[in-house]
Subunit: 217 residues, 2 copies
């Protein structure tokens, strides 16, 4: 059973989708699709963790969010230019189901209640982007880093202590700064006793403080 927006499909539609979907596996570091490539399939993540990122000029990318198992990935190319507008890369071993985008469109056409649910899903994504914009416009790096750490803890790993596959560069790309700055800020937070951190093991010690930094720092 799907835990994403597909759960609102009618049983026959769901059956059809189950029939046509096919699995593809990705190793850590492999790319599911690249920004600019044609959008031919909707993707449902069955297992794994991935990063959604915008590729700016060479050397620079912006990580918009991470995707966990259960989530669905479409993209704004749907019914516009049918291209991908971001790239999607596995951070861990990942299993994904591919669903033909035309079959997905049929579901929307045949079931306007589902279409409304899909619109709601798109709107949630839109709200997420507004928040990302707001965070990125924070003048201070501290606030952006605090926001990233809280995001990882609350939204992704759902624990105050976690082990991540993200590199320092990834954390920097999530926080709109250079990798050197991300390293220095993590060190500062550590020295201030707000977090513990050894390599890829993080523990948030003072969430109140982090929230305060995110909002005011």
């Amino acid at each position: 059973m799907f835990t994403n927006v597909l759960r609102y499909l009618e049983p026959e539609q769901l059956k059809k989708i189950e029939e046509i979907k096919f699995p593809v596996n990705f190793a850590k570091g492999e790319t599911i699709f690249k920004q600019g490539a044609p959008l031919t399939h909707i993707i449902v993540i069955n297992k794994g963790l991935l990063k959604v990122y915008l590729e700016d000029r060479e050397q620079h990318s912006i990580i918009l969010r991470l995707i966990k198992s259960g989530e669905i990935v479409g993209g704004p190319g749907f019914h516009t230019d049918y291209r991908h507008h971001f790239s999607l890369t596995a951070l861990e071993e990942t299993e994904a189901f591919f669903i033909d985008v035309m079959q997905f469109e049929n579901c929307l056409l045949q079931n306007s209640t589902f279409a409304i649910k899909f619109i709601a899903y798109l709107n949630k994504g839109h709200i997420g982007l507004y928040n990302k914009l707001r965070v990125f416009e924070h003048k201070h790096m501290n606030g952006r880093m605090a926001s990233t750490l809280l995001y990882l803890s609350e939204q992704i790993y759902e624990a105050e202590e976690f082990e991540t596959e993200l590199s320092r560069q990834d954390i920097a790309d999530m926080s709109a700064m250079t990798k050197e700055s991300s390293i220095r800020l993590i060190k500062n937070f550590k020295d201030s006793g707000i977090i513990e951190c050894n390599n890829n093991h993080f523990k948030l010690l003072d969430k109140e403080h982090l929230i305060n930094i995110m909002e005011n720092g």
Copy 2:
């Protein structure tokens, strides 16, 4: 007749919408709705120019885009929390039609082809936000200012010479910088012969150069 996504409605639906819509006028500077307020109506701009902006902490706002006559404004609160996630303020004398959001929802439910068109419209907005994020992540102010001037010329005023109601603060809020910086950059562009500018009158003299600055500067 509507020039926005509403033109895809069936004739009877269109008639219904025409019946229930009602006009409201706004003077320059007046706010149509505020971020956080309940979303009760979809709005169609009949005449005028408006700014869509995120209110960050006090003193700081981010202008996402401008809205011209003919355009429709919904917002991602639809079918999520039914709140406005941005504020909308008139830059010029504006006439807007208000359409009850529940009637709009009925249109989507009764007409899945329309729902698909609406999804396409939402996706175009999503692509626009990605571009905004990319521009804001430009490290150099020059590139952000060039991008704003090109946006005003190409997307809004559709001319290389234009008179704007935007203040220097507005231009700064569109370009992710302080008003002092926006003033200094406009002066620099003027001194370099890339633009002409007297108060609110702008003329782009060297678009090639501006595009180059936007992409590489």
